[in-house]
Every structure is written in structure tokens, then in C-alpha cells.
Amino acid sequence: MVENRPFAQFMAYLTLAIGVVVVAFPVYLAIMASTFDTATIINGNMPLTPGNQAAENYTRALFYGGKLAREPVSMMMVNSMIMALGIAFGKILISIISAYAVVYFKFPFRKTAFWVIFITLMLPVEVRIYPTYKIVADLGLLDTYTGLIMPLIASATGTLLFRQFFMTVPDELLEASKIDGAGAFRFFKDTLLPLSMTTIAALFVIQFIYGWNQYLWPLLITTKSSMQTIVIGIKKMITTTDALTEWQIAMTTAVLAMVPPVLVVIFMQRLFVKGLVETEK
């Protein structure tokens, strides 16, 4: 602060407080809705203090499911978790080894290989959904975890991030390892991997959130309700005919769907910010 202006300080607090309230209010309402029964919500005067149906709603959602999406939410959460972890670990694995190859080896078509990967940065899955769908169908991967995960790990962000990081690792480390007689595998395992841990963790946080929140892709390739992810499940709970919508179960599910990624952001904030800023999306 250049000069001391109590009024500016006050305005800063006020603006930020309003921001926090606006950001939190929709989620607060969802949490409240998850503690009432259908009737209380439907008549339009839902109180802003918690009701007494929380235990009932969460038990029903988690273990029995709603009237419309009949699968229990716990099962959808397992599916989402498998998908999110699969995408995060899969991407880290394939991109760290390909970045290692591109940075630490000289081989023919190295530049070409790098560009082939780099260009994928530009096209999100949304623009090539139907052709990708067809390929996944032809491979017999509809309604499988492989089909859910594989197409989404085809992207350059991870490789670029690791390449960037490897470039900052001093050359002397490799030279020293070579003098000590370490081969490519030893150098990777004993020197590079330990140094990369923060980068790996940052990428993991971003990819976990990305994977957990996927919508269009699982919507297309899962037909069996036992393969549904939680984000898709919520959509099915809210139908066009309002009378059938069990809002309390839908909102309970929404709260459950937000818990894992939001906890990741709050408790791994430093890694999250690092990952976000360095992958620049």
C-alpha cells in the first residue's frame, strides 16, 4: 500500500466479502436443500437454516439412488473416482516418459514428434466428439473405463509441463550421473523423478479436477447406468417434468459431487495454483 487510506481498506474488505458471499451462496443453498424433504422445497419457501432430513437424504442418495437415476450415488462416485484417477495417473505416466525422451535423447524425428504432440494442445475433445466416439465404439470400448479414460489423456499439457521443467534441471546433474556410470533408467529413477515430484503433484491436482468434472465424453460413451459418473447422474435426476424431480436428492448428489475436487483445491492450494499457472490450462 502506497498511502494509508482507511476508507480504501474498508472498501477492499467490503468488496471481497460480497464476492465471497456471492460465490458461496448457491452452494450454501444446495447444502440446505440437502437437509429438507421434497415437500418443503417444492412449496417454494425453503428456510435458510438446516432442516432435519440430512441423514435420510444422504443415506438414500448414497446407497439407494433417486427415483429417476436409480443407481446409488456411491457407485457413481466410484466411477468418477476411477475415471479421475485414471486420467491423472495415465496422463502423468505417458507424458513424463515422452518428455524424458524428447529432452534427454537425440533421435530421428525428435522435433516432428514434439510438434505432433504439441498441436493436440489446441483441440479440445468437444470438437471431435462423434469421430472419436466412432473409433471408441469400433474398438469395443463403449461402457468401459478404458474408453472413458484413454481419449482424454491424449493431450499435450503434461508433456509440455514436464519438458519445461526438465529444461530447468542443470546439465551438470546428467553429466555427473554419466560419470558415475548411471544409464538412462538409473538417471531417471534416482535423479530426475525425485526432482519432479512437485511438478507431478501439481499436474495430478489439475488433472484430477479435470477428470472428475468431465461431462460430454462420459455422457456419450456410457449407456449402462452402472457406468455413470456422478456429474452425469445429477443431470438425470433433474427432468423436464418438475413434478418428478426430487430436488433434495439432486442437491444432495450435487453436494457429494463437489466435495472431492473442492477439498483438493482447498487443501492442496499451493500445488493447485502452481499446476494451474504452469500448465496455463
Binding site: 425453503m46 505417458i94 524428447v102 483441440l123 473409433i135 443431470k235 433433474i238
Partner: protein, 293 residues
């Protein structure tokens, strides 16, 4: 940039790069080239035979009034979300950048919506602004605003803009805050010594120095509105009422699902690819150079 020391050998690096290459080719290049190829074909009604028709699919697309409407919808939607999410994020970031107690706590409390799935963000806002049972939607109707996003296209768009902005402010806020913190304090102090007040300092020193960040965020936000808001649209309006919130991306999905013409759908995909590539190219070309002082 190159490393001074390398490992020798070809087989190992090729093996290491193989998984990434295989996945990229199968799930990226193959579908993308199929989309391009298909956009030049027309299938018969039973999907048995197809013939090469050149640019006819594109011509047919540009004769559809719905396609223009989707374009206009996309432009309106992106402009509104970009403007509000950047403006709100910048306002919050400048306040959080002031030397205040608890700045870090505010940061945590403002960034978590990044982790909420777009579809869920949409559901939350729809519940809040539901015309008959929403905590904020019902009072609007009681006051006589005749609010109904299920029936009125403008109301539906307002709801989409609100939820898409709500979700994206956190991202822009983080980057603006980082950008603000990177501006040397000495420059601002020099401005203060010369007698410029906080407002003048903001518009003549801070804002210009922040322009690379702003430009970067503008491109990222537009890409976000184009693609990631699919979940919001599908959960909140399903492209309705009467197609009034159907964006370009949503139209590709909806046309394909209703079993429409494959060639037409492929042509739409190709146009989208061109738009994204152009946006990304602009970003890489200009972000570092033009918008700097």
C-alpha cells in the same frame, strides 16, 4: 533450447514416446482427419453409401438460419461471460492485492468454484433461480418480473451467463492476482509521488502493465465459453427454449444425437477446429509481444 548432454540410442526414446504417440494418433489425429474427410461426403438415407460432394456440406450449413442463430448466440454468450468474468475478477483481484489482513483467506474463499463441474454449477444456479421454488427465482415472480428461464430465451441466457461467470471468475481472479503481484511496487510509488491518486494510478500504470494477462485471460475465457460451458447448457437449458441457447458446440452435439446428417455435423466440427486453432495461434503470437509496454 537444447540440453548439453544426452543419452545415445534410438530404441529406448522411441519406446518411451510410443504410448503418447499411439494415443494421440488413435484418439486425436484419426478422429480429426475423419471429421475433415466426412465433411466432404454425403451419406444416403440409410448410411450405406457415401459420395464426395466437395464443399456442399459447408454451403448447406451456411444456408441454415439455425446455424447463424447458433453463431449469434455463441457470440453474445462469449462476450457477456468474458466481460463479466474478467471485470469481476479484476475488481476482486485489485482489492485482494491491497495490503490487507486475511488476504490469503479471501483468496482461498474465492478460488474454489474452479473445482466445481460446469454441469453442477448450472444445476446450482438453476435451483437458486427456479421460477417456482428457487430462493431467488420465486421472489422475482412475486415481484412481477415474469421470470421463467424454461420458457423465455432471454431469461435462459441470463441464467447461463450467471452460472458460467460464477464458475470462471475464480480462474481469472487467480491470474489477475498473480499479474498484479508481479508489478513492481516502485512504479506505483513513483506514480504516487508524482501526485496520481489510486484511480489514476490504476488506469495509467497498473491496467496497461496488466494487459498481457488480460489478453491471455480473454482468449482462455473465450475458449472456456465455447467448449467447457457445454455442461452448463446441457444441464440448465438443453439448448432451449426453442433452440434459443444453442451454441455452436451444442449444435454439433444436438445434431449428431438426433441422428442428423453426418456430413453436416462434420462440417460444423471442422469450422470449430478452425476457430480454436485461430484463437490459439493468436494467443501464441500476440500474448508475449504486442500487448506489452
Amino acid at each position: 533450447m537444447e540440453k548439453r548432454a544426452h543419452f545415445s540410442g534410438w530404441t529406448l526414446p522411441l519406446l518411451l514416446i510410443l504410448p503418447q504417440m499411439a494415443i494421440t494418433v488413435i484418439f486425436f489425429y484419426l478422429p480429426a482427419s475423419q471429421a475433415i474427410w466426412q465433411s466432404f461426403l454425403r451419406e444416403d438415407a440409410f448410411g450405406l453409401a457415401s459420395e464426395f460432394v466437395g464443399l456442399e456440406n459447408y454451403a448447406a450449413l451456411f444456408e441454415q438460419p439455425e446455424y447463424y442463430r447458433a453463431m449469434i448466440t455463441t457470440v453474445i454468450f462469449s462476450t457477456l461471460v468474458a466481460f463479466f468474468s474478467l471485470a469481476v475478477a479484476l475488481l476482486l483481484a485489485t482489492q485482494a492485492d491491497k495490503n490487507i489482513r486475511g488476504g490469503h483467506a479471501f483468496k482461498t474463499l474465492l478460488i474454489w468454484p474452479y473445482a466445481v463441474a460446469p454441469a453442477i454449477a448450472g444445476v446450482l444456479w438453476m435451483f437458486m433461480f427456479h421460477p417456482t421454488l428457487g430462493t431467488l427465482g420465486r421472489p422475482l415472480n412475486v415481484m412481477g418480473f415474469n421470470w421463467n428461464p424454461m420458457l423465455d430465451g432471454t431469461d435462459a441466457m441470463i441464467l447461463l451467463v450467471l452460472s458460467a461467470t460464477w464458475k470462471h471468475v475464480s480462474y481469472n481472479f487467480l491470474f489477475f492476482l498473480a499479474g498484479l503481484q508481479a508489478i513492481p511496487k516502485s512504479v506505483i510509488e513513483a506514480g504516487a509521488i508524482d501526485g496520481a491518486g489510486p484511480v489514476r494510478r490504476f488506469w495509467t500504470i497498473v491496467f496497461p502493465l496488466l494487459s498481457p494477462t488480460t489478453f491471455f485471460l480473454l482468449v482462455v475465457t473465450i475458449v472456456y465459453v465455447f467448449f467447457e460451458t457445454f455442461g452448463i447448457i446441457d444441464a440448465v437449458t438443453g439448448g432451449g427454449p426453442a433452440g434459443q441457447t444453442t451454441t455452436l458446440v451444442y449444435k454439433v452435439y444436438a445434431d449428431g444425437r438426433s441422428g442428423g446428417d453426418l456430413g453436416l455435423s462434420a462440417a460444423q466440427s471442422v469450422i470449430l477446429m478452425v476457430i480454436v486453432i485461430a484463437l490459439t495461434a493468436i494467443q501464441f503470437r500476440y500474448v508475449e509481444r504486442k500487448v506489452q509496454y
